[in-house]
């Protein structure tokens, strides 16, 4: 038989149903401390150490020719690979969502591979294939095309590591919107390309934008794969910003290392803000 409901009993049950204030506070503070120690403090430290010697010093450090060159290498590599990822990512998403073919599942899993493979391994793999003694390397070399230790290698390495990011954003949205709108467009007289530009693309645009920003953030920060395919990078030639930071830090040119790091961090934060805005826009539709 149930206990009769008294004021005291209801009060007691209510207390038990809620976690104790002490427990709740403990969990909250552990999580906050964890995030602060791992993320906030290091990022703030980079900013703080950068400006220790004043703004002028940072400005001079960033204007060194090798630093500017490193930024242009990273910028070009990131830009080209994001563009490739955009076109290829949307194409692959359409292929694996809209078409049924043998090996579709395998392709879908392969796309995810770069997420789990170490970038260093990816870089080595690219050398095996495109290096002078690799599969295509010899043929490409005789045509005068150098891939490894050159810009194409950097782009390939960057594309490899950021390959899944656009696909993983776009494919689920394509799946969700289904084929009815596209079929409706076709019955109304639209050709496949008209249907893509007028119906499909507008429906997936925020997912595409999100994937592109993620790819950009990933491409700017890539280190391992690029380092392997450029053998560490040649200053003023194939050195990217991340390699430059490593090198300068090793040579005790801390201000240069910190300044370049800060620029990368700021770009990453901007990407994060853009992603947040896009997420909001994506929600209501």
């Amino acid at each position: 038989m149930a206990e009769p409901a008294t004021v005291e009993r209801v009060e007691r049950d209510r207390r038990r149903a809620r976690p104790t204030p002490v427990g709740r506070l403990a969990v909250r503070w552990v999580v906050i401390a964890y995030v602060v120690a791992l993320v906030l403090v290091p990022v703030v430290m980079v900013g703080w150490r950068t400006f220790e010697g004043g703004v002028g010093e940072v400005w001079d450090a960033l204007r060194q020719p090798e630093v500017l060159h490193a930024f242009s290498v990273t910028g070009i590599a990131a830009g080209v690979s994001v563009l490739l990822n955009l076109v290829f990512g949307v194409g692959v998403s359409l292929l694996i969502v809209r078409h049924r073919f043998r090996g579709r599942e395998l392709l879908s899993r392969l796309i995810d591979l770069p997420l789990s493979v170490s970038p260093v391994v990816a870089g080595l793999a690219l050398i095996f294939v495109y290096g002078r003694f690799g599969w295509f390397g010899g043929a490409l070399d005789s045509l005068g095309v150098q891939v490894v230790f050159a810009m194409p290698g950097i782009v390939l390495a960057t594309v490899f590591v950021s390959l899944p990011l656009v696909v993983r954003e776009v494919a689920p949205v394509l799946e969700e919107i289904g084929t009815e709108q596209e079929e409706a467009a076709a019955t109304l007289g639209a050709s496949p390309s008209q249907t893509f530009w007028r119906i499909t693309l507008p429906s997936i645009k925020w997912a595409v934008a999100y994937g592109v920003v993620l790819s950009l953030a990933r491409a700017m920060g890539e280190f391992g794969a690029v380092k392997v395919v450029t053998a560490g990078g040649v200053v003023g030639s194939t050195q990217t910003v991340t390699s430059l930071v490593e090198q300068k830090y090793g040579e005790f040119e801390q201000v240069t290392a910190y300044s370049a790091s800060l620029v990368l961090a700021v770009v990453a934060v901007i990407c994060l803000v853009v992603i947040t805005v896009i997420r909001r826009k994506e929600q209501p539709s």
């Binding site: 409706a184 076709a186 109304l188």
Partner: protein, 320 residues
């Protein structure tokens, strides 16, 4: 603008959706493809639209073989169960889509879309997005969008299936009136026999990938070609080994020629109709009586009654 379906077969993997289906749909008619889900009626409609291709057989629209034409080359209008509204375009742009694709002049598009929005009573919603409309409004927009390109045939795939009963009935009446005004050859896929009986000039019953029977609603209801058709078009019960409709059974206290004895088990009233379950030696028989007929009948549970299928002339008399 007739549609001729000639010996169409279609399989999806191991599942046979349509096997050797032939069908002729008259110009200007509103024809319903009626049947249970999974019976192949939607596949048939999608093959006519060009959204699927048959494994064998041919489709002719207005005498032209369209079997291998893409949907955009067929001059059709298609309405989907879940509206398939273009979510990023306003109601106006949705309806204008087909005309924009055809590169019609701007003022012609404006005129035509305005007319159509008036026809579907959405003129006040032209600038809204589809997400701001109710289901019924979205489906009316989809109909206007399909009609905008002046299709030779209009194909509707369970168009009212996702709507509430009230809206559904309203749109159904509206579709019938629309068809009387603009008599474009129309094919309606539905699993709702009431919808088909009420709206269609002609009904084709599709089941297990085959056409069971095609004809006018009266013919299918009164002279079904199979027990399946009879059972699908309305309620049935078994009396003395024969399938009859529950409202075609006479129930009385006295024994008459050809009557079967039974005992009343359950009586329930549903609106103007009284439904009786009676136990006979062959099993339970369901009888539906009107209020007037029920008033004079012995309807206490346990009462002994005599059940007799009404003679055809009796049905004719009842109709007067």
């Amino acid at each position: 603008m007739s549609i001729v379906v000639d010996r169409i077969s279609k399989r999806f993997g191991g599942f046979t959706a349509l096997s050797d289906v032939s069908l002729e749909i008259g110009a200007g008619n509103l024809t319903a493809l009626l049947g249970p889900s999974g019976g192949g009626k939607s596949t048939l409609l999608r093959i006519v639209a060009g959204l699927e291709h048959p494994d064998s057989g041919a489709v002719h629209i207005d005498g032209r073989d369209v079997t291998w034409l893409r949907p955009q080359q067929r001059d059709i209008g298609f309405v989907f169960q879940h509206y398939a509204a273009f979510g990023h375009l306003s109601v106006f742009r949705n309806v204008a889509f087909g005309l924009e694709i055809r590169k019609r002049p701007r003022d012609e598009i404006r005129r035509r879309v305005t007319d159509l929005l008036e026809l579907v009573h959405l003129e006040a919603f032209a600038d809204r997005l589809p997400s701001q409309l109710s289901g019924g409004q979205r489906q009316r927009m989809a109909l206007a969008r399909a009609l905008a390109v002046e299709p030779r045939v209009l194909l509707l795939d369970e168009p009212f299936g996702a709507l509430d009963t009230g809206v559904r009935r309203e749109l159904r009446d509206w579709l019938r009136r629309l068809h009387d005004e603009i008599p474009v050859t129309t094919v309606l896929v539905t699993h709702d026999q009431e919808e088909a009986l009420e709206v269609a000039d002609e009904i084709a019953v599709v089941n297990e990938g085959r056409v069971e029977q095609i004809g006018s609603p009266e013919l299918l209801y009164d002279r079904p070609a199979s027990e399946f058709v009879m059972g699908f078009l309305g309620p049935v019960t078994r009396l003395g080994g024969a399938l009859v409709r529950p409202h075609d059974i006479d129930l009385g206290a006295e024994a008459v020629d050809g009557a079967v004895p039974g005992v009343v088990r359950r009586v329930s009233r549903v609106g103007a109709e009284v439904r009786i379950e009676a136990l006979t030696t062959d099993g339970t028989v369901v009888v539906h009586l009107g209020r007037a007929a029920a008033a004079g009948a012995p309807l206490e549970p346990g009462a002994e009654v005599w059940l007799r299928p009404m003679a055809p002339e009796r049905i004719a008399l009842g109709a007067v």
